[in-house]
Amino acid sequence: MGKRNLLLEIGLEEMPARFINDAMNTIGSRITGWLLEHNIDFGDVTLFSTPRRLAVLVKDVAESQPDTVEEAKGPAKKIALDEEGKWSKAALGFCRGQNVAPEDLYFKDIKGVEYIHVKKHIKGKPAIELFPELGRLAESIHFPKSMRWGNNELRYVRPIRWITALFGTEVIPVSIAHIQSSNKTFGHRFLGEQIPVLAAEDYEKVLLGQYVIADSSERKSAIRDQLERLEEEKGWKIPIDEDLLEEVTNLVEYPTVFHGGFDERYLSLPEEVLITSMKEHQRYFPVKDQHGRLLPYFVAVRNGDHRHLETVARGNEKVLRARLSDADFFYQEDQKLDMGEALEKLKAIVYHEKIGTLSQKVSRIRHIAGMIGRRLEFGENDIQKAERAAELSKFDLVTHMVGEFPELQGIMGEKYARQQRESEEVAMAINDHYKPRHAEDSIPRSAIGSVVALADKLDTIVSSFAIGLIPTGSQDPYALRRQAAGVIQILTGQGWDLSLNNMLKDIIKIVQKDLPQADEQLLNDLLPFFKLRIRHMLLDSGIRHDLVEAVLESEVHSVPQLIEKASVLNRHKEDPDFKETIEALARVLNISGKAEGDARVDPSLFENEYEQNLYSCFLELEESYKAGTGMESRFEELASLRKIITDYFDHTMVMAEQAEQKKNRLAQMKKLSAYIGDFADMGKILVK
């Protein structure tokens, strides 16, 4: 059977850079999935993408589906044959339905009954006849943001302008949004032109001749190479921000790196301001010297070749100059800042319609930070610092600089606070209280910063819950889940054994002053919400599902402890006696459920040494718990009871006939189970 190469290219108006990779991969997997589903054999798959195209080249695609044989089952023999042993109407009807001759019928036994059957030879269809369906595949891709255009009903990432679809050299008729496929593609918007692709496999080469590097990873490495060459030539360091590189790669079809400069006097602006102006606003790479100091240069990537690169560089310099001169103006204006005035202005900024102003929020954060500091037994000095940092945590939102560069919130706060002679810890905490800013971010650098960060996040969560903003399903507009994950990250990172339960109770009281509707009922939503975050975190860190469930069943006294418990179990899960340990402990938990009334153990009622043994061990356990031990040794202590418990059950009937004995033994079980259950619900752990 013959094979040909398959090419599908969707030509679009410039797609947003951030959607391109996903879209390319989706189209690729849809097409290969479709080929598999249709039993069409194929070889290597290459994916291409630029801002203006998504393309898939599949090598060695079979020209037709293979022929197949299918067996069809008809009526039972007794129905298929009439009294004279000839084919009945039913059998003939079956033949017509299957489009076969009666001679081809045969009988086959299925569970003792014979049925007529027939083998049908199905000829595979030529692939080219099936390919027009590729249009439907490409059309049905979902984008995070899509649009309509012209008179079209279709929603797509950006308007589709051409379709190139080839099977070998033959055009596959595909139609999307009134666009018909052809063998013509378009080159670079300015350096190229419309051009035919005569055979599918020529695609990449044809486009390269048209100033389009269709393979995005090649474009990326071309940019990387050019950056390195420039570094070498100039003796610069150009730190590569991978996200920026990725974005720039997807903003151009034919990358050419160039550089420009700016006035040295702007180097007196904070580095973050310069970097934000270059990176976020202009997609430039900042340039540093060998010691990591910023230099008054930038590097950018043009969509085109070397011609007139000087004009492009001058134009970009002009734009950056205007931006930096604005930034400089705002920075100078902010130097006139009066902290008191700034805090006053927070009264006029609504944080959330139903929650109140930023000023109110700041005052709550301050209270909460103080409360947490006291729970952590901070010294009075540190508590004051935490409260001061909390008070100043949002002041930079009213500065010109943050007004212009919102992404610098916190960063400017730290700088300006230092200029205003706030203490170093306070300045750092102002910046750090936003940390962790995203899942990969670190926690605040100091304990004070961590306290303020906890206070801000917990206040946001509790006050949002109070007004009914509880995340459901995909709805989490205020990113409360992220905030909760941040709380967990900080508590774990600092190893702070704070009771979430008690802390939330205190915060509800503080929030209550501004939002009277906040009451302890909220805990019914808050605690499961936090537990769910912990669960995700544990699962993400690779801890086995059943172990996670088991520790989450225990009371959450402290987040770090809970997490430690899970990792202790995870560490021990392959121990040779793990199964026996868990079974023994689970047995205690299980039977203790039958205990009633108060659990008082009377040793004088013990009938055998095993009861006595268990009791002595239990007393030891109680003592060492009082002394406070880590989770690892707690587990080891519990595990050391394994043999004692097994022996106990082997020789002792807990549910004794004598009521007094039964009660005493259940009491012993209950006491012990309090310690076991505090570690985890062992019954949830799967042991084989």
């Binding site: 309509r148 012209g150 308007p159 151009v252």
Partner: protein, 300 residues
């Protein structure tokens, strides 16, 4: 090329491509989009191709004529084409060539930028067009106007005249731009820039403005009830400008701000709906006329 020549070139170009050349609409507004030639005409099924220069007032951006880039009032060259033609990007790039910007000598990019105007219930997807890193045009496919889905979709091009001119004339300060032979931007606009800034930030009568907002709002609603879309819309524009003046004056707290925007949005939604209904009552005349023409052409 001076600004006057630029405008002439753009007008000629878009006129050649079937746009009606309109004059600026004579009610104050913050952006060309707010002109009824855009806002109202983007609604409903009737085709609509126009181009016009729109002076746009943004009181809070006033800088007493001292800032080289920021202005109380700037100029937008606005193009609307409904339905958006398939070759719209090419038409646009052609206009840049006519302005002397050869794409081969520059770096021209279409960078994602999604546009929203919550106070008008508008949303669109598109790009800002970068010329060597400078944003020179907003390029938007309207998806929603006045809370109504756009069918067909209009494309809106908004050229920032001053931005573009400062590139073409290679000046650092907007006031140094040549408007036409012998006249700079400063000659024409410096005094109004200064005076309007002073007015917006210092001398405007807040109480009067608050009163005006209420009066304009009432009138807009009353006219809407009568089905008189255009007078109603004029008053909505007036509300918007008064709001911008109050905002520049710092007279509106953040809470009130949300409330005012809400009031304007609800009027904008209502006027959009009323416009649609009124056009429908008229049988969408432009659409009907076009169909008739096509029929006649078909017969001929």
């Amino acid at each position: 090329m001076n600004i006057q020549e630029m405008i002439l070139v753009l007008q000629k170009h878009w006129s050649n491509h079937g746009c009606i050349l309109m004059q600026a609409y004579d009610v104050e507004k913050g952006a060309g989009t707010m002109s009824p030639y855009t806002f109202l005409r983007a609604i409903g099924p009737e085709p609509w191709n126009v181009a016009y220069v729109e002076p746009s007032r943004r009181p809070a951006d006033g800088r007493y004529g001292e800032n080289p880039n920021r202005l109380y009032q700037h100029h937008q060259f606005q193009v609307i084409m409904k339905p958006s033609p398939p070759n719209i990007q090419d038409l646009y790039l052609e206009s840049l060539k006519l302005l002397g910007i050869d794409p081969l000598q520059h770096d021209i990019r279409f960078v994602e930028d999604n546009w929203e105007n919550p106070s008008l219930g508008c949303a669109g997807l598109g790009w800002e067009v970068w010329l060597d890193g400078m944003e020179i045009t907003q390029f938007t496919y309207f998806q929603q106007v006045g809370g109504l889905d756009c069918k067909p979709v209009s494309v809106e091009l908004t050229y920032g005249i001053e931005r573009l001119a400062s590139y073409i004339q290679d000046t650092e300060n907007v006031f140094d731009l040549e408007w036409t032979n012998g006249f700079t931007y400063r000659d024409i606009f410096f005094q109004p820039e200064y005076e309007h800034s002073k007015y917006a930030f210092e001398t405007s009568d807040k109480d009067m403005l608050f009163n005006l907002f209420t009066i304009f709002e009432q009138e807009a609603k009353r006219q809407m009830e009568l089905g008189l879309v255009h007078p109603a819309y004029d008053y909505i524009l007036k509300c918007s400008h008064v709001f911008n003046l109050l905002d520049a004056r710092g007279a509106i707290s953040v809470t009130e701000r949300t409330a005012y925007i809400g009031r304007m949005r609800s009027m904008a939604r209502q006027v959009a709906k009323t416009f649609y209904e009124e056009r429908e009552k008229l049988g969408f005349p432009i659409l009907k006329q076009l169909e008739k023409e096509e029929e006649e052409n078909g017969q001929a």
